[in-house]
C-alpha cells in the first residue's frame, strides 16, 4: 500500500469518526440529558476530567485547553456557555493553586506578569462578553479553528531553554523586568531579561480575547510569546504563564459568573476531577513517555477541534 493510500485511509477514518461519533452523541445529548439521572452526568464529568487532568500534566498542557473542546464537543449535554464557564474555573483553580509555589520559588515573576496580565485581563473581559453575545455556532466555529491552530502550534513550535536576549528593550528596562532564578536541575543561577516587550503586549491583547471568549486558559499561547518572542527562559515562561492565568481568567470568570454561565454542578466536579487528576499525573510523570503522551494530546485536540468546527458549521 502506498503512503498516499495509507494517508487517505487515515484521514477518511478520522473524518468518519468525527462526523458519525460526534453527530450521534450531540443528537442524542439533549434527549439523554433529560433521561439520564443528573448524578450520572456529574460522576461522568468527574471521571472524564480526572483523566484529562492526568493527560494534561503528562502532555504539558493546561486543563482548560483539553476541557472545553472535549467536554463541549462529545458526550456531554451541557450548552457551550456552561462548558466555557467551567473551563475558565478549571484553569483559574489550577493557576491559583500553583501560583504561591511558583512565586515563592522565584520561577514566576511578578514584574514580568503584571503589565502583561493587565493588558490580557482587560482583553479577556472583552473576549468573554463577545463569547456570550455571539451566536453559539459562530463561537463553536471559532473554537474549532482556534483548537486546530493550537494543534499546529503544538506540533511545530520549538522551545528555547534559555533564549538569547542581546539587549533588553527600552520598555522592559523602564519597567525593570529582569530577574535571576535558581535552576535547581542544574544548580545554577540564571540571570534573565526580555526584549520585544511592545510586541509581546500586543500579542497579549489577542491572547486575552481568546482566553475570555473560549474559556480555554491560555498557557498554550502565553508560553511561546514569553519564551520565543520576549526571550524569557523556558522555566520562567512556563511558571509566569501559569501564574498569569490566575489574573487573566479571573476577569473573564467574573463576566461568566455575572451572566449566569457558571453552574456549580458542571464546574465543581470538573475542578475536583482535574485537580485530582493533575496530582496523579505528577506522580506518573517520571514513568510516562512524554513524547507519546504529547502525540496523544495532539490527537485528542485534533479530533475535538475538528468536531467543534463541524458542529459550528452545521455538519
Amino acid at each position: 500500500m502506498t503512503r498516499w493510500m495509507k494517508r487517505s485511509w487515515f484521514w477518511g477514518l478520522f473524518l468518519v469518526l468525527v462526523l458519525v461519533a460526534g453527530e450521534g452523541w450531540s443528537a442524542e445529548s439533549a434527549v439523554a440529558s433529560t433521561v439520564t439521572p443528573w448524578w450520572v452526568w456529574a460522576a461522568a464529568l468527574f471521571v472524564t476530567t480526572f483523566f484529562l487532568g492526568i493527560v494534561a500534566v503528562l502532555g504539558g498542557v493546561g486543563g482548560g485547553v483539553l476541557f472545553v473542546p472535549i467536554v463541549g464537543g462529545f458526550f456531554f449535554p451541557f450548552h457551550l456557555d456552561f462548558v466555557r464557564g467551567a473551563g475558565l474555573m478549571v484553569a483559574l483553580a489550577g493557576a491559583l493553586a500553583a501560583g504561591p509555589g511558583l512565586l515563592k520559588s522565584g520561577m514566576a515573576n511578578l514584574r514580568l506578569a503584571m503589565p502583561l496580565a493587565l493588558i490580557a485581563s482587560a482583553s479577556a473581559i472583552v473576549g468573554a462578553m463577545m463569547g456570550l453575545a455571539l451566536p453559539t455556532n459562530v463561537v463553536q466555529t471559532a473554537l474549532g479553528v482556534t483548537i486546530l491552530g493550537i494543534v499546529a502550534l503544538m506540533w511545530s513550535a520549538k522551545k528555547s531553554e534559555r533564549p538569547e536576549v542581546p539587549k533588553a528593550d527600552a520598555l522592559s528596562s523602564a519597567l525593570g523586568i529582569h530577574g535571576v532564578f535558581l535552576d535547581a536541575a542544574r544548580n545554577q543561577e540564571i540571570d534573565w531579561k526580555v526584549h520585544r516587550t511592545p510586541t509581546g503586549l500586543l500579542m497579549f491583547v489577542v491572547i486575552g480575547i481568546m482566553a475570555g471568549m473560549f474559556g480555554l486558559g491560555a498557557g498554550w499561547a502565553n508560553v511561546p510569546v514569553l519564551n520565543l518572542l520576549m526571550g524569557a527562559p523556558l522555566k520562567v515562561s512556563v511558571a509566569t504563564s501559569k501564574f498569569m492565568l490566575s489574573i487573566v481568567d479571573t476577569s473573564a470568570a467574573w463576566v461568566y459568573l455575572n451572566k449566569g454561565a457558571v453552574l456549580a454542578l458542571v464546574s465543581v466536579p470538573s475542578i475536583l476531577g482535574i485537580m485530582l487528576g493533575s496530582l496523579v499525573g505528577v506522580r506518573l510523570l517520571r514513568r510516562a513517555n512524554a513524547s507519546v503522551v504529547r502525540k496523544v494530546v495532539i490527537g485528542m485536540l485534533l479530533l475535538a477541534g475538528s468536531r467543534a468546527l463541524m458542529k459550528g458549521l452545521g455538519f
Binding site: 449535554p77 491559583l96 515563592k104 520559588s105 493587565l118 462578553m129 459568573l257 456549580a264 454542578l265
Partner: protein, 142 residues
C-alpha cells in the same frame, strides 16, 4: 507584615507577600467550594433549581437558562445563598476574588518604594478586576 521568609535575590518582598496571601485565599475558597458542593449534591440544602429541572435546562444558552429557571444575574445570587446551588457561588466567588485582594495587599508595598509605574499598573488592574466583578458589564442585578 513580615511573617514570611524570602530571598530578595529570587523573589521580591512584594512577590512573597502576594504568594502568602494567595496561598491562604485559594485554600479557603477551595475548601468552602467542596463543603458547599457536598451540602448541595447530598440535598442538605435544597436548591433553587432542582437537579432534574437543571438537567432539562443546561442544554440552553446561559441567557435562556436564566429565563427558564428565573435565575439571577450579577450579584443577584447573594439573595439566594440559602439555596444549595447558589451557596456554591460563595466558594467560586472567593476563588474569583482572591486575586484582587492580593493586588490590594501588595499595592502599598510598591507605593512605599516609590515605584510609581507599578503602583499605577496595580491600581489599573484592581479597577479592571473590580469592573469585571461588579456586574456592570452586562450582568446587572436581577
Amino acid at each position: 507584615m513580615a511573617d514570611y521568609q524570602y530571598d530578595p535575590k529570587y523573589a521580591s518582598e512584594e512577590q512573597m507577600a502576594y504568594a502568602a496571601l494567595l496561598d491562604i485565599g485559594w485554600k479557603i475558597g477551595f475548601l468552602l467550594m467542596v463543603i458547599f458542593f457536598g451540602l448541595y449534591v447530598f440535598g442538605v440544602m435544597p436548591p433553587h433549581v432542582s437537579m432534574d429541572e437543571l438537567a432539562q435546562y443546561w442544554v440552553l444558552p446561559a441567557d435562556q437558562y436564566l429565563k427558564a429557571v428565573n435565575g439571577p444575574t450579577g450579584w443577584g445570587w447573594m439573595a439566594l445563598i440559602h439555596r444549595g446551588d447558589y451557596l456554591n457561588y460563595i466558594g467560586i466567588a472567593i476563588l474569583s476574588g482572591v486575586t484582587v485582594i492580593c493586588y490590594a495587599r501588595v499595592l502599598p508595598l510598591f507605593y512605599r518604594k516609590g515605584d510609581k509605574v507599578y503602583t499605577a499598573i496595580m491600581v489599573a488592574e484592581i479597577l479592571v478586576l473590580v469592573l469585571a466583578a461588579s456586574g456592570i458589564l452586562g450582568g446587572g442585578a436581577h
